[in-house]
């Protein structure tokens, strides 16, 4: 083990109270940041079923204008079908309705099922691990077959622990045949959350096929994120050519395909549609994280000053025997980074507990915080940053002392 690392661990061991206080502060701060990172990761990382999230644009909102009113909300299938197919740079296009609640009573118990109507491409754009059965395909959609894929919770609610394949699920006033079962979906996954997925063509609304505004969304899986600009440009061009439909009051329409990060930023900042607030959002997050870390860092700087002052004589000795200022700064920063990385590891364990607790208590309505390797790396990077931030100033101030001042205990 390198001597600087060995000395760092030894120093921490010899000053248990200081170590405890410092670790507590670091671990608390980093746990909070890790939980926030895990939530962001849960929202934004490509993870089943939304495995292509990093190269997907989502179209959840449209502006449809009339002489008297501007409608801002989900587009209708008609708008998507007419203007949003066969875009350049798009590998998979899928249209699906937003979840709509279907009520049923099973053994006297009220059961709510969130139902989506999807095209067959939905199962390509999003990857579900089937627990049993299969997805519906294009022929099922074309024939408007009343078939449904359900999640594990719905299977349990309706059919207990038995297989659900071939059984009948009531949706609205119709009966659907269960053909597949998938695991429950994280409610933070906006495009896939739901309990039941049935064929697009069984949508119950009148005239859903031609609606400009409605309850639909689209997902465009691009060949790569580099294609996003071209896709947006093409959609803009197509919307410029939007034609009023006979028998409706609408005079114009606009759509705003966005990445999930853009959607999140938009919602967080309340930015107008069509703006790209991601940089502002990222800057705001970084600022919040920085300020959040700054307070304990300032505290740690103070604790470090007194800790280093305690070791002034050691600094004097090291200088006397040939340590340069740079080498001393490095030693003290390494010690602090070791401390902070230990704090980081503790915070990772604590964040794991928080994740378990939140799953148990249902704080996130069924969503699970997952501490992925990405979150772990974020935690590690934060620990090192924290260590350097709070270690470098006291180390530098101490290293600048004349050796004799340090030997006398740090007095100037």
């Amino acid at each position: 083990m390198p001597s600087s690392l060995r000395l760092s661990l030894e120093v921490l061991r010899r000053r248990p109270f200081f170590t405890f206080v410092s670790l507590f502060g670091i671990a608390f701060t980093l746990t909070t940041l890790l939980v926030v990172s895990a939530m962001l990761d849960g929202l934004l990382a490509p993870r089943a079923p939304e495995v292509h999230m990093d190269r997907s644009l989502y179209l959840n909102r449209a502006n449809v204008f009339s002489d008297n009113n501007d409608f801002h909300g989900p587009p209708g299938y008609g708008l998507l079908d007419e203007y949003c197919r066969d875009l350049p740079g798009v590998e998979i296009t899928t249209f699906y309705s937003n979840p709509r609640t279907s009520l049923a009573f099973v053994n006297g118990q009220r059961v709510e099922t969130e139902v989506r109507h999807c095209d067959a491409e939905y199962w390509r754009a999003f990857r579900f691990d089937f627990l049993e059965g299969r997805a519906f395909d294009a022929s099922d959609v074309e024939a408007a077959r009343p078939v449904v894929v359900i999640d594990a919770s719905t299977r349990r609610a309706f059919f207990g622990e038995e297989s659900a394949i071939g059984r009948t699920l009531p949706v609205g006033d119709r009966a659907f045949e269960v053909i597949g079962v998938v695991p429950d979906v994280d409610p933070m996954r906006e495009a896939t959350t739901g309990n039941a997925w049935t064929t697009l063509t069984t949508h119950p609304a009148d005239g859903w096929q031609t609606q400009q505004r409605g309850d639909f969304s689209a997902c465009f899986v691009a060949t790569s994120p580099a294609a996003f600009d071209a896709i947006r440009a093409e959609l803009d061009a197509r919307m410029e050519a939007w034609e009023p439909k006979p028998g409706t009051l609408f005079t114009d329409a606009r759509v705003f395909p966005q990445t999930r990060l853009q959607e999140l930023a938009q919602e967080a900042l309340g930015a107008p549609r069509g703006e790209n607030p991601v940089a502002r959002f990222a800057g705001l997050l970084a600022l919040i994280a920085f300020v959040f870390m700054l307070l304990p860092a300032v505290n740690l700087v103070n604790v470090n000053m007194s800790r280093i002052l305690e070791r002034a004589s050691e600094i004097g000795v090291r200088k006397a025997f040939g340590a340069s200022n740079g080498e001393l700064v490095r030693q003290f920063v390494i010690e602090n980074v070791v401390l902070c990385v230990l704090g980081g590891l503790i915070s990772f364990v604590l964040a794991g507990f928080v994740a378990e607790l939140s799953a148990g208590a249902g704080w996130l309505e069924g969503s699970r915080l997952q501490l992925s390797p990405r979150v772990f790396l974020v935690g590690l990077a934060l620990s090192v940053f924290f260590g350097v931030l709070s270690g470098i100033l006291p180390a530098w101030r101490m290293a600048r002392l004349q050796p004799v001042q340090a030997l006398r205990g740090g007095e100037r």
């Binding site: 006397a320 040939g322 030997l407």
Partner: protein, 238 residues
């Protein structure tokens, strides 16, 4: 002007003095008071000599030693070590020069409490190139030389004052410096222990030709050195 980096890896030339001070002054200034710690000190110390520095408390003898060892900077005047003008050196070069050519022994021992005797002795070698095995071998050899072969893994708090000072001497000599500067090395020890330490320093001077400058209050110890420099109120009086 930024001081130039001088290389200090080359052996010191033995022709000139090992250490020299030219018109060195040291003033301590506060808002109201200016205290003269050293006033126009000229001093040359030959290679291989054993010099003691005597004077009453507060006369400036420790300050003199600190300036000789580049632990403190003079307010004015020149400090030359093995022919190198210290004013020309930046922080890194000074650190390197101390590391290669000077070993220190302090009255308060100044051992690092978190480290074993062996690790304390290894400390100067950490700032040189060399494997950990080599460092360990040299540290053990130095500890054997001061009679502490059996105490290598002890911490400073587990040792007597005399043993701690012997560890400090082992640390001072482990890098085979040309010069050892000792600031009242026997000041915290009883006379028997002080005598043992003095014998160690004498052996070092006699057998290795190490130049030794020792600050002391003890006239009997000073009498055993080649030359006595006397300081009074910051001035050299002999």
């Amino acid at each position: 002007m930024k001081p130039a980096t001088a290389t200090v890896d080359t052996p010191h030339p033995r022709s000139g003095p090992a250490l020299a001070l030219g018109g060195v002054e040291k003033l301590y200034r506060t808002d109201r008071v200016e205290t003269v710690a050293l006033s126009r000190i000229d001093l040359e110390i030959r290679h291989g000599s054993f010099v003691s520095v005597m004077g009453p408390s507060g006369s400036g003898k420790s300050t003199l030693l600190h300036i000789l060892g580049l632990l403190d900077a003079p307010t004015s005047g020149t400090v030359t070590i093995g022919g190198t003008d210290a004013a020309r050196l930046n922080d890194k070069a000074r650190a390197q020069l101390r590391n290669r050519h000077i070993g220190f022994v302090f009255q308060q021992f100044h051992l690092v409490p978190d480290l074993s005797a062996r690790d304390n002795v290894e400390l100067p070698l950490l700032y040189r190139k060399g494997s950990s095995g080599e460092r360990r071998r040299l540290a053990e050899k130095a500890l054997e030389r001061v009679g502490l072969a059996a105490r290598m893994d002890h911490r400073p708090t587990q040792m007597s004052g005399g043993q701690q000072q012997r560890v400090a001497i082992a640390r001072a000599i482990v890098g085979q410096p040309d010069i050892v500067l000792a600031d009242e090395p026997t000041g915290n020890l009883d006379s028997a222990m002080g005598n043992e330490i003095m014998e160690l320093l004498e052996g070092l001077n006699r057998e290795d030709g190490t130049t030794i400058v020792m600050v002391t209050h003890d006239a009997a110890l000073a009498d055993r050195t080649d030359e006595v420099v006397r300081i009074f109120d910051g001035r050299r009086v002999s």
